[in-house]
Amino acid sequence: MKASAALRKEVDTGDCWNGFRPGDWITSINVRDFIVRNVTSYQGNEDFLAGPSERTKEVWAKLQPYFADERKKGVLAVDAASPSTLLAHKPGYIDRDNEIIVGLQTDQPFKRAIFPFGGLRMVEAGLKAAGIAADPAVHETFTKYRKSHNDGVFDAYTPEIMSARRSGIITGLPDAYGRGRIIGDYRRVALYGVDRLLEVKREERAQIDDMWPTDEIIRQREELSEQMRALEDLASMAKLYDHDISKPAANAQEAFQWTYFAYLGAIKEANGAAMSIGRISSFLDIDGLLDEARAQELWDQLVQKLRIVRFLRTPDYDALFSGDPYWATECVGGMDLDGRALVTKSSYRMLHTLYNLGPAPEPNITVLWSNHLPAPFKRYCVKVSKDTSSLQYENDDLMRPFWGDDYAIACCVSAMRLGKQMQFFGARVNLAKALLYALNGGRDEVSGDQIAPQTLPVSGEFLDFEEVMAKFDTTMEWLARTYVHAMNCIHYMHDKYFYERLEMALHDRDILRTMAFGIAGLSVVADSLSAMKYGKIRVMRDQTGLIVDYQNVGNTSTPQFGNNDDRVDLIAAGLVTSFMEKIRKHPTYRNAIHTQSVLTITSNVVYGKATGNTPDGRRKGEPFGPGANPMHGRDNHGWLASCLSVAKLPYKDSLDGISYTVSIAPQKAHLSEAQLVDEAVKAFDAYFERGGFHMNLNVIEKETLEDAMKNPDKYPQLTIRVSGYAVNFVRLTPEQQRDVISRTFHGQI
């Protein structure tokens, strides 16, 4: 193996790096080192912030008709003829005179691109739903000459996986579209320029030329070649916009533009479900270099671009992930390993875009909350939540020991070290359905079909907790095995046919891979098991012997998740650990580390729809609680009780995140607004200190939502957090709107 001298050699960057404190980042690719050496931690409050510039307002005004049209018509335009790549489309502009950050996914705003490498079926179904004709040449290419990821996966699936997929016990797998949840370290392009990144990739490649060509080495060589080609194409793409990004960015404007180009390249190459931007606001910290109005202008205009990312999806997909999300997740805050807050003036500026441009679901702004964050910043975050319901909070003190101080959040709640880690995304299984399979000997409670291997159904009139647990354990073993099996097939094929060459070019060669499994319906299962343990559940069977309904004939009501009651909360926590242990038994593709999330996105509605009556009293078709949430209306002793229940779920067995959405309807209290903000900060500290992972916070009254259902035009920017992300409320389906309204609303925190 050759020495890695080139990786560390001194580079001539002209004067681009003048004024920055040097360190390891000079001689190797190490953005984290650059940040911790150069960040200016800001301890003050928001008084310095500036409003939107005239140029920003002009660009924003040009976009408004598109937003309005889209609300009425849905998809506005699609380029159906040009499969998206870095160079597939001519440069596009919104308002050339006023845009200071440029670059669109296609040649026009709101014109969506197609990604047939993921799967042609998905493209054509999306076009059909949008009323746009499919392109015959694309069709021919991807049926005759070029295989897609989707085709590959279905070549490898087994009949068992197919039926588990069809029955809805495993849903949302990325087997027909881009897997997403990979975050390129887009900052590298601004800090190093493409030439330097290419040089390092060449060296990384040379190092493995001497290695014996096992499957993995051959794959790595091909991937590195692809990565280098992608970096070259990225530079060419930037040239189309008259930018030379071969050298490091020389000023703030360039740093913003190049970081954005790198992100833009990623969303031209991949249509992943979640395309996070990472953690740029502690990197693009330009304190003192620009006057405030100009600094804010850069943020506002970058965020404008992040608000108009669009992918062509299908109606099925929209049901799972509704409101057209793409999770351009950006993390603000958090602490570094030396105990310094990574809060910069730019963290404030990022949040302030929600005032300058109004509330919006994207970018999915995620506050990495630590009890050690500066108090003024905590207060500002709470104020922004109160005014916009556009923020989510995640526990930095919990994640930092696992992921260091330069991780970001992919999608909603998935932490990963930037440029050093990626995940194989795996959607989720329906744990409530699995429980019903356990009762019914592996038969589906809705269709009656045998899906899981045939086992002895429960006999007798009443459910016995111990007996059911034993059966459920067996069913979960089967489910975990089938699930890992399917995931291995998916990601093998995704790497093969739809490799994210640019995003991975912005990673180190040797990275940590996780394989992220997920569960839905946790609170339904916990409440059901609690009902069996503490109540007396009589079953009702149909004429084929299938158990289709339940009745609690005990004389006490049973403990329910969401009330800080260990009797049921520990059942929920135990389920998380138990399913994780079962997942871990099965080897993964590329030796990825198994992780798990308790997250549903908006699929809690779809899952509920596909699931029969459950022993907790939930009726057939009724939505599940989203993510790790208690079932709607059952956490009725206040937010404190609800939070404390959710905080008991173990992060170590759910390293891909635990999603918890809280809706607060402001209520009478004696306190002034400032005092309420202080109290809310204390409440956040208390929740996170007790191990809470996530707080997806809405501050809104039910009545407002009801009015918005009736008069959508009055609320074009009404934003609401659903499960790890935010949506434009008026862009949800009526069914999902009703689900949001039926959730528990707590009083003042």
């Binding site: 004389n555 006490t556 009501s557 403990p559 329910q560 009330n563 800080n564 009651d565 260990d566 059952r634 009725n636 002793h637 206040g638 937010w639 404190l640 009780a641 404390l644 209520q667 009478k668 209290a669 004696h670 306190l671 309420l676 109290e679 204390k682 409440a683 500290d685 208390a686 200190e689 007790r690 707590h746 009083g747 003042q748 925190i749």
Partner: protein, 275 residues
């Protein structure tokens, strides 16, 4: 004998009727032990019922029959759940660390907590042992029952004074005013922190004379930190209907903001901190 149960699921707003049919009448209870008692519900996140974040335990039983009561299902012990004080304290313990962190504590409301004097004393004492701040929400009608040891485990009193005029008080509550005033004076002499609460019901308690009377009575008391004007609302009317009780205030509107302001100003003019 009623069956001992865990605290009920369901929120403070839910109605509960006839859960413990064998319970004694609320004016005949003997609970020298206080190991068991009757509860309506609890809530863990109130910012209204005392300083900081409050866990509020609503106990059953009240001797007043306020015409505008929004929880008539807390009047009778038999409508409550029969629980053990140990169980209540265990549940309180589940929340104690968070309540301490949030500068809050336990508030016992009702119903009238002093109907079950020994039971509530036990719970207050347990809460004090956990290092929690304690508050009682009371009409004061049974204030004579609150001996020194009872008041020793209570840090703060939310005292409902519904009227300053014995006639009005009797019309509104069915009982005498004097015990409440006596209790207020005793709390003043003990310098026990008090928030006086006054429910503003249009046509019932809004007479300027009535308000002034309370204001004049309370103003000199240095222990009264706040006078709180609570506007009448209709959230409890469904319970009157469900229990088949005649509800006098079916058509009574919530007080206008102007009326609320007028009353607050009356208190302030007399020298009270009012809100």
């Amino acid at each position: 004998m009623s069956t001992v149960q865990p605290l009920e699921p369901g929120s403070r707003y839910d109605m509960r009727v006839g859960i413990s049919p064998d319970a004694p009448d609320e004016d005949k209870i003997k609970d020298e032990e206080g190991s068991f008692g009757y509860c309506h519900s609890y809530e863990t996140s109130s910012r209204y019922d005392g300083p900081g974040l409050r866990l509020v335990l609503f106990v059953s039983g009240c001797l007043l029959r306020c015409t505008y009561c929004h929880n008539p299902d807390t009047w009778h012990l038999k409508d409550g759940t029969y629980v053990s004080a140990d169980h209540v304290l265990r549940r309180l313990g589940d929340f104690a660390p968070a309540l301490r962190a949030l500068g809050g504590g336990l508030t016992i409301s009702g119903g009238e907590p002093m109907v079950q004097l020994a039971f509530t004393r036990r719970i207050f004492a347990g809460a004090k042992e956990m290092g929690l701040h304690t508050a009682i929400q009371t009409s004061g009608f049974l204030g004579d029952r609150a001996d020194e040891s009872y008041l020793a485990v209570i840090d703060h009193v939310l005292l409902d004074i519904k009227s300053s005029d014995p006639e009005t008080y009797r019309r509104v509550t069915g009982r005498d005013l004097a015990p409440t005033l006596r209790f207020a004076e005793r709390l003043a002499s003990l310098s026990k922190p008090v928030w006086v609460r006054f429910t503003l019901v249009p046509g019932e308690t809004d007479d300027p004379e009535n308000v002034d009377g309370i204001a004049r009575f309370v103003a000199p008391m240095k222990n009264v930190e706040w006078v709180e004007v609570q506007p009448f609302h209709q959230m409890g009317s469904f319970k009157w209907k469900a229990i088949n009780l005649e509800y006098k205030h079916l058509d009574t509107p919530a007080p206008s903001q102007d009326l609320v302001n007028r009353v607050i100003e009356q208190f302030r003019a007399a020298g009270c901190n009012a809100r």
